[in-house]
Subunit: 196 residues, 2 copies
Amino acid sequence: MPQAGPLQTRNVAAVADGRTRRLTVSDWVEAGFTLLAEEGVKALTLDRLCRRVGVTKGSFYWHFVDLGAYRSALMDAWAALHDTERAQFTAMSDLEPRERLGRMLQVLLGERLWMLERAMREWARSDATAAAAVTAADRRIWRAVRQAYLDAGFTPAEAAVRADATFAIGVGILHLSASVPNTESAEKFLDIMLRH
Amino acid sequence: MPQAGPLQTRNVAAVADGRTRRLTVSDWVEAGFTLLAEEGVKALTLDRLCRRVGVTKGSFYWHFVDLGAYRSALMDAWAALHDTERAQFTAMSDLEPRERLGRMLQVLLGERLWMLERAMREWARSDATAAAAVTAADRRIWRAVRQAYLDAGFTPAEAAVRADATFAIGVGILHLSASVPNTESAEKFLDIMLRH
DNA sequence: ACCTGAACACCGTTCAAGT
DNA sequence: ACCTGAACACCGTTCAAGT
């Protein structure tokens, strides 16, 4: 799909060897994630990427058909990352709803992820594929959030409204944060939303 | 400050005349707003702008020192726009808190404004001046929102938390919307937040 | 199979020259 | 004072040539 060259045939040891080993798609993806997490969307330029990976532009174009395809690869990796999050969420089903919601917010707004989240949502505005991936991921998380409210004893209708609000809050905090988001006010918000 | 050329000396009739009249800074700003509102940040390119205004690039560079300065001008105009909004908000102080909050959300998410809001917040991430303007505007609106909760009988602490949440919701909806935001779920959310 | 290096196209920017 | 048109720099993209 997005890749041009090798379909990830050999995924051997990706550790820091001297200089010998050749690049794989995931090396580029990893570099892109770091760049995004550290400096945001605008830092994701061909030159910056190649400099970081230590190779010339031509190499990039052997691995990817163009920057758009590269972003698609980033999206795919991000979606996979999101799936592991979801696994965490469903594994939480034994926790109290309140505790569960608090953890969800913390995962979403945590360290490295929130910058990626922002980047994805920014691309989603101009790219249909990105938009689809974000929507799909959102729906899954929304369900987990609603389930928490259902478990807290709300009717389906009440739970849905609260899930909408909680979700919007999360995204809102994501965008309002200049640096790393603080989850403190989000916690207080949950207290209100969980009141009957 | 941002402008290079004329400091808006003659603001005469800006209506559609044949082709004779010369351009003013606000003509460029108006064109930029329309472009942003219709197609978002990515459409704001030099070529698109010049095509829309019907003039060559050189003309642009007589009015503005560069694209950055032009965006500053857009920011200034946006801030002014925001001030008239705030005037609306303070004029609302006789309305019921619930009604007032509903109107505020509708103004923020209404037709032309929400796309501009998004654009400004996107720039604010990479530009310090933009960030300052957005922060200042946000603080004013936040106060108006908190005042509504105070008038609804909440303690200062309670009102502050609710203002935080309401504000985050607004921004969240802004970014979650693919097309024009629907204010329906926001209304239901207000019902919850106003409960004692 | 994977990468280099040079060439091209596009778009933001400059500037001498026009009215 | 305000605008044109040509030139330049930068960055994404292509591709023939290397190992």
